[in-house]
């Protein structure tokens, strides 16, 4: 079913929904409707779209601080996502988490994470737990290139390979760890070699080519479901914006950014779809629908109520739980 126009249109729609979500969030942040740090993933949409199209709802996902696209592609509701960014009671976490901590357990999204590499041990544990319970689902763990220099990367890959856990590790490599070129901080022959050295088979893909990501993920997921063993995908992409919404990324050359815009994933897929006979009008319609959806989501978030003062004290240490007070 891969390599069909309908599937590519679905990827195109998902990428536009992510792009429109991020642009709406960025605009809201600039309008001071959203507080706190905001890490958008504009330019990286192909990884989320190509990945999640291959997942079932029961498959779990852990993400990082730049996770809006991952959460949305996994099936979360953008209204509740934006409401969370706005800190409102209707947000996924009731306003307790914000941009870096969106979770939607109902679609298998086990949460974004504000600590680089923080999701890796959680993902391998989730896979171990699913295996223990006899559930067939797999776990996907998305992290950035900065995470490969942290200890949990080493520990988690070794662990997943050792215990033969159904985990798909995905390194969404945008080349920059916060404000530093990752290559200047990373020794050795590269990320895929690191994964392989710990017994996890891996491969690289052009992370701005959503068709290639889709194909690579499909193969890896199939291998994981067949063997129960972990796999690794290294997807090279580019972050068109700065580290946070307040970072103009003036430290990059304009040439670099202009060149990156030429190879950004939505434009590339659009060109392909036009070649394959889709009309400008249909493709523009997909973009327009995505923008409308996110504008509506923003209106929902703007109108959503704030948490009540007493909500600051819920969801923590329920020591009166019936289970043990018997």
């Amino acid at each position: 079913m891969r390599n069909t126009v309908p599937r590519r249109l679905e990827l195109f729609r998902t990428m536009w929904r992510i792009r429109a979500f991020e642009e709406e969030a960025l605009d809201a942040h600039r309008a001071q409707e959203i507080a706190g740090p905001l890490h958008v993933s504009i330019g990286q949409e192909a990884v989320s779209a190509g990945l999640c199209i291959n997942l079932e709802t029961a498959d779990r996902l852990t993400s990082n601080h730049r996770g809006h696209g991952h959460v949305l592609a996994k099936g979360a509701d953008p209204k509740r996502m934006l409401a969370e960014l706005y800190g409102r009671a209707d947000g996924y976490c009731g306003g307790k988490g914000g941009s870096m901590h969106i979770a939607d357990f109902s679609v298998g999204m086990l949460g974004a994470n504000g600590v680089v590499a923080g999701g890796i041990p959680i993902a391998v544990g989730a896979a171990q737990g699913l295996k223990l319970l006899g559930e067939k689902a797999l776990v996907v763990c998305i992290f950035g290139d900065g995470a490969v220099n942290r200890g949990p990367f080493l520990e988690g890959f070794n662990w997943a390979a050792l215990f033969r856990l159904p985990v798909l590790f995905v390194c969404e490599d945008n080349g920059v760890a916060a404000f530093t070129q990752t290559a200047t901080m990373t020794a050795g022959p590269g990320i895929v070699a690191r994964a392989q050295s710990m017994g996890v088979e891996g491969r690289s893909v052009d992370g701005n080519d959503v068709v290639a990501v889709d194909e690579a993920v499909a193969e890896l997921v199939e291998a994981i479901r067949a063997t129960g063993e972990p796999r690794f995908l290294h997807a090279q992409t580019y972050r068109l914006m700065g580290h946070t919404s307040t970072d103009a990324a003036a430290w990059r050359s304009q040439e670099e950014v202009q060149s990156a815009r030429q190879s950004e994933p939505i434009g590339r897929l659009r060109a392909l779809l036009l070649e394959e006979g889709c009309s400008e009008r249909d493709l523009d319609g997909i973009e327009r629908a995505a923008r409308q959806e996110m504008q509506e989501a923003r209106r929902f978030a703007q109108a959503a109520p704030w948490p009540l003062p007493e909500d600051a004290f819920s969801d923590v240490q329920d020591i009166g739980a019936e289970a043990w007070r018997r």
Binding site: L110, V115, I122, G125, G129, D315, V316, I319, R326
Partner: protein
């Protein structure tokens, strides 16, 4: 009625060690609930202290899972496994190694339920043998339980007897919130009867070990037996101590402590940990705020000096709190000259 029967069984039961009591509690809960499992270094061969002896035969390597020396991932994987519906017991070997997993404990486990608006159920137990034991030096002897009382989102258990260890461990395994079990290595071979079946002990309920009117001694964990001995000696000197074992330091039994101090008006807190910024400070502050400074005639904390734990027996003993020191300070607090 049930309590009477349980007590009768306890009297009949043979005494078991602290470690064995914990073993029986974990065994009971793993038989009761197939979602309960253990992960940590060397657990399949019985654990460092024999606390999982025989588990491999009964539960197999998936439920008694020996792991690499990867503390971050032991802690974090326990959390991930809880998020999909299992109930892991995370074994940290000894407390000091939890320092290698602080992100997973502090930033992930303690936060995740709140941060995700109640979606996550971080039903993990973190077992941490802690404290001074057999001249193990600075990296194998720490007592930093106060750090975790300071950390919102976790329950901090500090049992001192086999029965309390067993009952609190059962509560911890059944609790949907993260529970840190600080288990005193110093008391691991202490023996006492343990009831069968092991009933859960609620968090936040102190044990009132002795009743007296001259001063209140509040303590927990490894210092409990020494305070008991000290209280007996004090009695011989005509000083009646009210002795409270907190059993859990978060939540802690403020009611029991304040009630006692309101009566005795004299408070001594004894803990093995460093005195400075220790949990004793919290107790003294809370009692003072609640009863008012005028309600107290004498207050003291007795803890370790602010030095790392030394190796040599000649100086390790210098920083540990002896029964005699407790007696001496208690006499001061009680307002009577040392005999």
């Amino acid at each position: 009625m049930a309590q009477v029967e349980a007590d009768a069984r306890a009297v009949e039961a043979a005494s078991v060690s602290f470690v064995e009591a914990a073993r029986l509690a974990a065994l009971q809960e793993m038989r009761r609930d197939h979602r309960v499992w253990v992960l940590g270094e060397d657990v399949a061969r019985g654990g460092l202290f024999g606390q999982y002896g025989g588990f491999l035969d009964e539960f197999g390597p998936d439920r008694i899972c020996s792991t690499p020396i990867s503390e971050s991932t032991i802690m974090g994987a326990g959390l991930g496994a809880a998020l999909v519906g299992t109930r892991p017991i995370i074994e940290m070997r000894i407390f000091d190694f939890a320092m290698c997993a602080m992100d997973e404990l502090v930033n992930q486990i303690a936060k995740i339920r709140y941060m995700f608006g109640g979606q996550a159920k971080p039903a993990v137990v973190v077992r941490m043998p802690f404290g001074i034991w057999r001249n193990s030096a600075a990296q194998h002897s720490q007592m930093l339980e106060a750090w975790f009382a300071h950390l919102p989102g976790v329950i901090v258990a500090t049992p001192s007897t086999p029965q309390d260890e067993a009952g609190l461990l059962v509560s911890a395994i059944r609790c949907d919130d993260p529970v840190i079990m600080f288990e005193p290595k110093l008391l691991f071979t202490d023996k006492a009867p343990v009831a069968d079946p092991i009933e859960p002990i609620p968090f936040g309920e102190a044990s009132h070990l002795r009743h007296g009117n001259h001063l209140t001694i509040v303590t927990w964990s490894s210092m409990v037996p020494r305070c008991r001995e000290a209280a007996e000696e004090l009695q011989a000197k005509g000083v009646e101590a009210d002795l409270i074992d907190l059993r859990t330091i978060w939540p802690w039994d403020r009611f029991a402590v304040c009630n006692s101090v309101a009566r005795t008006r004299r408070l001594l807190v004894v803990h093995e940990a460093v005195s400075a910024a220790g949990f004793g400070a919290e107790i003294v502050a809370h009692v003072t705020e609640t009863l008012g400074p005028g309600a107290l005639r004498a207050v003291r904390r007795l803890g370790a000096p602010r030095v790392p734990v030394p190796f040599s027996p000649a100086i390790e003993s210098e920083i540990t709190i002896s029964r005699d020191r407790i007696v001496q300070v208690a006499l001061d607090v009680a307002g009577k000259a040392a005999a």
